[in-house]
Amino acid sequence: MEPFERGAKLKTGMPPLHGVRVADFTLHAAGPFCAHILALLGAECIKIETAGRPDIFRKPHPVYGRMGAATFDQVASNKLSVQLNLKHPQGAELAKRLVSLSDIVAESFRPGVMERLGLGYEALKAVKPDIVMVSISASGQTGPERGYAGYAPLFGAAGGLGTLTGYEDGPPTEIRHVMDHSTGLTAAMAVLAAYLRRKRTGAGQYVDVAAREVACGFIGDALLQFAATGVAPRRMGNDAPYMAPHNVYPCAEPDSWVSIVAAVEDEWRAFASALGRPEWLSDARFASAQARWIHRSELDAQISAWTRKRSRREVTRILQAAGVAAFPSYSAQDIVDDPHLNGRGTIRSMAGPNNESRKVVGPPWRLSRTPATLERWTPALGEHNDRVFGGLLGLSREEIDELVADQVIY
């Protein structure tokens, strides 16, 4: 059986969470993204699932009206996969043994589920007193709405972010996967800080992340404005108060757009000059930021007439050369083709499940001494059962086979 190596002492060149073990009970998108961030930073992340109810994002799903292309692989990369039926008493017991050998626990069940399984924070603290545990849920572990079910667009709705997003004359707007993943990113931030505290003090900590509150964090300025003045911002499309141009403009190719912002007077002058429109600088409608904002529709129409004749890359090149903030609206294809992102390793090639080369998103940071890492593509369900149950927990071949037969390792 494959021995379980925790690895050598931390050295320069190793990822910063080298030697840190995460027991990952998370499902769907938000929780797995938290564990994904920890895995990119080098933690040994053991994803615990069961064939009885695998991660909904692992299996084909009709969410967009087609049974295919589930969205699991990217956030499960770098992880180890084991199967455990947590509803079986022996399954929960093995989970506890795994936790006793881990540093961090992550879970994203509905509040109360881990307690019912005998795997709540208090129970896990009893087997690993300094454990750092993060629970990720729609509304948090406390409060009258703690049991509310939710998905990304509903976190954005309850947290107010979706309410403030949309065209001025339109309805609220759904915030999609980025709401899940920003929740996971926030959870990773908090759990990293809690782990740092543990390293310094020896004390574990329980981190309770509420996805809707993550959405609140994105509108903290609006909440403060309302609390102070009784007035809150409304939906405002692409507008930003007293900034014009500040919009997304159509370019020559079909469904191609470029974002342009001129926030201060220097940028406005450079912008007018780059477009060959010096007369704008003496036009009373555009004489100040406030005047431009009032007349932004007229300004946008004239800018669109210019951008429509050009590619978004040409617009970007001309305006960036003039010191004006402009960038194409990137599709996924643009992202994987972008030399800058490829050069930084943010986009890289990896061998997929059938050994095919595919473009994936790498770690989003460059740490000069302890680089983050993406080493492995997504594991198959239970791919690391032997390695973890045998190598780490020390079970014999016979014991493992028996647990498989009893649908504990299942």
């Binding site: 910063p16 969470l17 799903h61 295919g68 572990q141 406390t142 009258p144 709405e145 079910a149 976190f155 709705a157 309850a158 979706g162 997003t165 949309g166 065209y167 339109g170 309805p171 707007t173 759904e174 920003s182 926030t186 990773a188 931030m189 908090a190 505290r197 329980y206 981190v207 309770d208 509420a210 609140c216 509108i219 609006a222 909440l223 403060l224 404005q225 102070a228 809150a232 930003a240 108060p241 500040h246 919009n247 997304v248 974002s259 960038f327 194409p328 609206s329 990137y330 599709s331 643009d334 992202i335 800058h340 050069g343 930084r344 943010t346 986009i347 994936v360 940071w365 740490l367 001494r369």
Partner: protein, 404 residues
């Protein structure tokens, strides 16, 4: 209430030399988590972000965004373009564990902030660089604001979906409210910064290059995966086939039923209408195919319903539903009160006002905000003199020379 006992970064000192929202958000989250964050601003009027919308007052311009991003920090002024200023900043960095900086890479050497120089002078310091496109690469020198990085990260191209897109199919993509992409960048920066602090005792400081674009590409990784699976996402193709944003008689709810039992709960919530009894609608793919038809029924029903009741009853039936909450709803909700995620801060002219703290509790307790925003340089004496041991006379001289 402030919760220093649980605050995980208590004892760390962070210097924030930053103008933008991404780096300021990183500093904010470190401050909320207990670090002492010293914000360094240009002498005089301080950061331009102090006057950025949304505004609490027009004259003088007081920014709700600035107050949100900077409550809890200490405020010093320092002009790193002057030799005295660079000397002072260096003294500050010698006492800190982490520097957050968003100076464009090409300007750093002139301010004494070249990463190699900093590494030589302060080997134990984590230099957390937070820039729109990172510190290196073809686009590192590009100028960008929130709207630009939002579109550089890929999510801009994919917004909006659902009802908004249905109503306005020909309009340009719409951004997410506020500084979403930059706050993602800031959160990502804290992850990397804290990871660097974790290894600092063993390995010393290091340069951490954070790109707001990278952070947003990472958060938007599903679109990249789908592309690898052969599907190029666009905003028309990724709308949910039914559910989504639904208008009730007094507001909007979001509805999303991904699992069979959730669909069955939704049918019950609507009182088991005739149209939903069609056996073919038991099949998820058939429901997707007939999404427009389902939404016609769902919308007609919802227009006769009140939001609060739909959400309460629907959640009891296991249907994922949420109200599109306004800021007032959030501030007044029993959920927010029970969680304690708003803490009072003093805003000039408004008195004590509840401000959002952090979207997580630690050991069951909400975090706090140590102090309200103060004027630029309000903590100069406390930091430069009391903490770093400079003399008051020196401070006066630097003030005269514009160094602080």
């Amino acid at each position: 209430m402030s919760n220093q006992h649980n605050a995980p970064l208590a004892g760390f000192t962070v210097v924030e030399h930053a103008e933008g929202a991404a780096a300021s958000y990183a500093g904010r989250m470190m401050s909320v988590m207990g670090a002492t964050v010293i914000k360094v601003e240009p002498p005089g009027e301080g950061s331009a972000l102090r006057r950025a919308g949304p505004l609490l007052t027009q004259e003088p311009a007081a920014s709700a965004l600035f107050h949100y991003l900077n409550a809890g920090k200490q405020f010093v002024t320092c002009n790193a373009e002057s030799a005295d200023g660079r000397l002072l900043l260096n003294g500050l960095l010698a006492r800190a564990e982490l520097l957050i900086d968003d100076t464009p890479a090409s300007r750093r050497p002139a301010l004494g902030l070249d990463p190699d120089v900093i590494a030589a002078q302060h080997p134990g310091l984590v230099f957390l660089s937070v820039l729109p496109f990172g510190a290196s690469g073809d686009h590192a020198h590009y100028h960008a604001y929130e709207l630009n990085v939002f579109h550089a990260g890929g999510e801009g191209y994919l917004m909006p979906n659902g009802l908004t897109l249905e109503m306005f199919p020909g309009r340009p993509p719409v951004k997410i409210y506020g500084h979403f992409a930059e706050f993602i960048g800031g959160t990502s920066a804290v992850c990397a910064g804290v990871a660097a602090l974790l290894v600092r005792e063993e390995l010393g400081g290091q340069f951490v290059d954070v790109s707001v674009q990278d952070a947003n590409v990472s958060v938007g990784c599903f679109a990249i995966q789908r592309l690898g699976d052969g599907v190029l996402e666009n905003r028309h193709g990724r709308s949910f086939k039914y559910g989504g944003v639904i208008e009730c008689s007094d507001g909007y709810v979001g509805v999303l039923t991904l699992e069979q039992r959730q669909w069955e709960g939704l049918v019950k919530l609507m009182d088991d209408p005739e149209w939903a009894r069609d056996p073919a609608l038991q099949e998820p793919l058939e429901r997707s195919r007939r999404g427009a038809e389902i939404n016609r029924h769902l919308r007609a029903w919802a227009r006769t319903q009140r939001v609060e009741e739909v959400v309460r009853k629907g959640q009891a039936l296991g249907v994922p539903l949420a109200k599109y909450n306004e800021p007032a709803d959030i501030l007044e909700s029993e959920q927010s009160k029970a969680r304690g995620v708003f803490a009072p801060i003093d805003l000039p002219g408004f008195g004590s006002v509840p401000a959002f703290t952090a979207p997580f509790l630690l050991n069951g307790q909400a975090l706090g905000l140590a102090r309200a925003v103060r004027r630029p340089g309000a903590d100069n004496e406390a930091v430069w003199c009391d903490w770093l041991g400079r003399k008051t006379a020196e401070l006066d001289r630097w003030e005269r020379h514009g160094a602080v």
